[in-house]
Homo-oligomer: 498 residues x 2
Amino acid sequence: MSDPLTQLKERLTKSTDLERIGRVLSWDHQTMMPPAGSGHRAEHLATLRRISHELLTDDETGRLLDELRPLEESLDADSDDGALIRLVRRDFEKAVRVPAELRAEMTRAGAHARPIWVKARAESSFEQFLPALERNVELRHEYVACFDNVAEPYDILLDDFEPHTTTAEVREIFAELKAELIPLIAELRNDDVDDSFLQGTFPIDRQESLAKEVVSLFGYRPDTWRLDPTEHPFASGAGVDDIRITTHYDPGSIKSLFSTMHEYGHGLYTHQLPRHLERLPTGGPCSLGIHESQSRLWENLVGRSRPFWRFFYSRAQEAFPERLRAVELDAFLAGINRVRPSLIRIRADEVTYGMHIVLRFELEQDIINGRVDLSDLPEVWNERMSEYLGVDVPDDAQGVLQDTHWASGLIGYFATYLLGTVMSVQIWQKALEDLPTVEEQIERGEFASLRKWLGEHVHRHGKKFSPQETLRRATGTTLDPKPYVAYLRTKYGAGVAA
Amino acid sequence: MSDPLTQLKERLTKSTDLERIGRVLSWDHQTMMPPAGSGHRAEHLATLRRISHELLTDDETGRLLDELRPLEESLDADSDDGALIRLVRRDFEKAVRVPAELRAEMTRAGAHARPIWVKARAESSFEQFLPALERNVELRHEYVACFDNVAEPYDILLDDFEPHTTTAEVREIFAELKAELIPLIAELRNDDVDDSFLQGTFPIDRQESLAKEVVSLFGYRPDTWRLDPTEHPFASGAGVDDIRITTHYDPGSIKSLFSTMHEYGHGLYTHQLPRHLERLPTGGPCSLGIHESQSRLWENLVGRSRPFWRFFYSRAQEAFPERLRAVELDAFLAGINRVRPSLIRIRADEVTYGMHIVLRFELEQDIINGRVDLSDLPEVWNERMSEYLGVDVPDDAQGVLQDTHWASGLIGYFATYLLGTVMSVQIWQKALEDLPTVEEQIERGEFASLRKWLGEHVHRHGKKFSPQETLRRATGTTLDPKPYVAYLRTKYGAGVAA
């Protein structure tokens, strides 16, 4: 019989493999699967999750963790094994409280609600979606009720997406952001900027080759990566050597370029996760917030920057001469960085984006704490959109029904988008400090030292530490919205074209 | 606690799901995966297999099977539950004898040997391949040694691919075939037939659309099926509603058309397996022989027949006017049915194909029984090719190294190709009896009643019965090479063009 740590690792290798396999199946689901296969797929994913959950919550896991307590205490907290035992103990203690049947029903109800939401959104009918949403919320209440000594119920949900992060902490950061962003939006909005050249005809084959060209420049390599078209862009893959990103090509706009850069950032993160921990939970991504910091960094800090476009703009003009030949670089930069409050989160600019998240974060707490009746959600949504962004919501499709998260039962997820955005600026500024010539390199189309820096300072920690600790190791600081606000003020205050 | 049958089914649903997931991963491996992903993929497939094996061989499975003995005896042998318990008992009794580590090592050694074989074949160097082959054979000896009371060692290997079928039975059938085929080949070979129009330039895009047209005619539907290009054609998928076939397009030949029809036959079989047994072992395919009977039926009995080409030839001429415009239907039929002994199994015509299999079947027994030294294989191979088919093997790449099976450790597999071919004719003749107008339907491009007949008489049994019993239920007869030989004699003896 092998030692308890080896036995624990054997179990974890299995459950990690099953989780990675699930990611390939999800990718396949959204890119390749014949539509009729969705019935099998739901069952197969549920089976993978059930086996994983059983491997984690089995009495034997508990027994091994008990046996490993002295070893854990003797190990350096930085060590791979110390971090592993600590992470698994936390996951185990959370998972054993949740009955397998509740876990399965949460997955099932989300899968059931998703097509209902698709139809409800298409018909802009919140009423159609309401019963499915009620079921999802009810199950989250049951889930929260599995835990004792909870400061606030929403903490339990948030922790599933951003571990070690409390509602109170996020509330404080978001309150600070809100106080800054509302006046900043009023100050920086520039409705007069002409961005009409970003609409028109952008043939998909040329978008596709330009997107490939950008990510190849960034560091996409065809022996390790894939890029495929999908309805909703995402990043997935089977492990560090099998990275799959997707993008959506709209023939009437070039926004696919920015969403491809975004997914590249996610992809690079998973590509540079610690290879020697590949088949253990510590080898996975740290949190959704850290994940998002990487995608936003490549999309915004690199992809909407002057240095990058000084290098790349001529290529975009060559690809779309009909639209861009007559547009100067300054005008193009102003266009892709235009600030204007709008209805849809995923199309929001860098300055207004935060308020979309603050709204959802507040609303989710109201939902979970029973401060808002679900049937009143559209009304409340529309009021706050008017208050925070000054826009009138014409219908539910462009309002409360726009995002898929609540349909899948993902409550507690949205905050990570803004946490990641905030962290992306903290990480970027540390990278600029450590690599003083990185912007000149980007202007020459060189990204290797940025990739390497991110790998060494962020990616290599995998899930060994909490998001805050990971951020601290990368930047020397903890979550702080000030650099983000200062960045917005500097970039947009001077006028992007300056 | 649920009853033992329900508990058994829960375990089996898991292992069946894992097996189906493995099929999607294998498909992905060969069609979509970035090449660097093969490391992860090997580990992930091994994990799926390990968990499946553990679920099957667990003491708990044995206990449930013991408890279920009285129920099994009380159930009708035809019943779904009776068939399930019988099948699982047999699988369990075989699997528990094999240590998990040996099972894993067999998989690992096969995965290790495959790239060695690819290189050895490319360089036509049997010597390079020999150590890997020796390891595979050694492991098969260890595997066979796990069983007692074995009439012949080769039985154990054959049974993994064609259950309930002994070496002695196959030897008898093949001896009869051999005695018929050798003179028949001499009699029917028609080297003078002109088939030069089958070589030349066949643009891949047109091959692709013609292949899609053929299988759409047969019954391929895009909501349930996929057709993708690969190096080596195969059929796979996640279940009855997710069928994936692949084909290889050679720009210099139209043989992709026949391999696509072949894979369609495999795909239709899995598409029409019993839906209500979908997530149990009894809902899988019966055996490789039965599987092959379905692919050969569509490829040869339908796809190389006069009725089909009376309907479809004008379409092929439209697709490839440069090559086929001037070729009459009779000449085309003679060309695609030309009989000529040749070196490569997968390119062999219907008449000579059998001898390629007889040779491999005999050689595998010699290997397992130690009657041939592995280092002498090329020599023995070449002698027998000369004896059986009258051809001189110029090099190992076109000889003993041509097939991938032994590299992957698949010894005992080849026989199923010829068993399936023999059964395809038995099944076809029964279909013709039951559906007297089926050839007229095919001449009108109608395949629905043939599909339905195959579904009702062959596919719907899944793996409930042995291959022989499945054949008996479909045709009223058991394995018999006579109809196959008579078919060859009739089709080719009269001259195909007649």
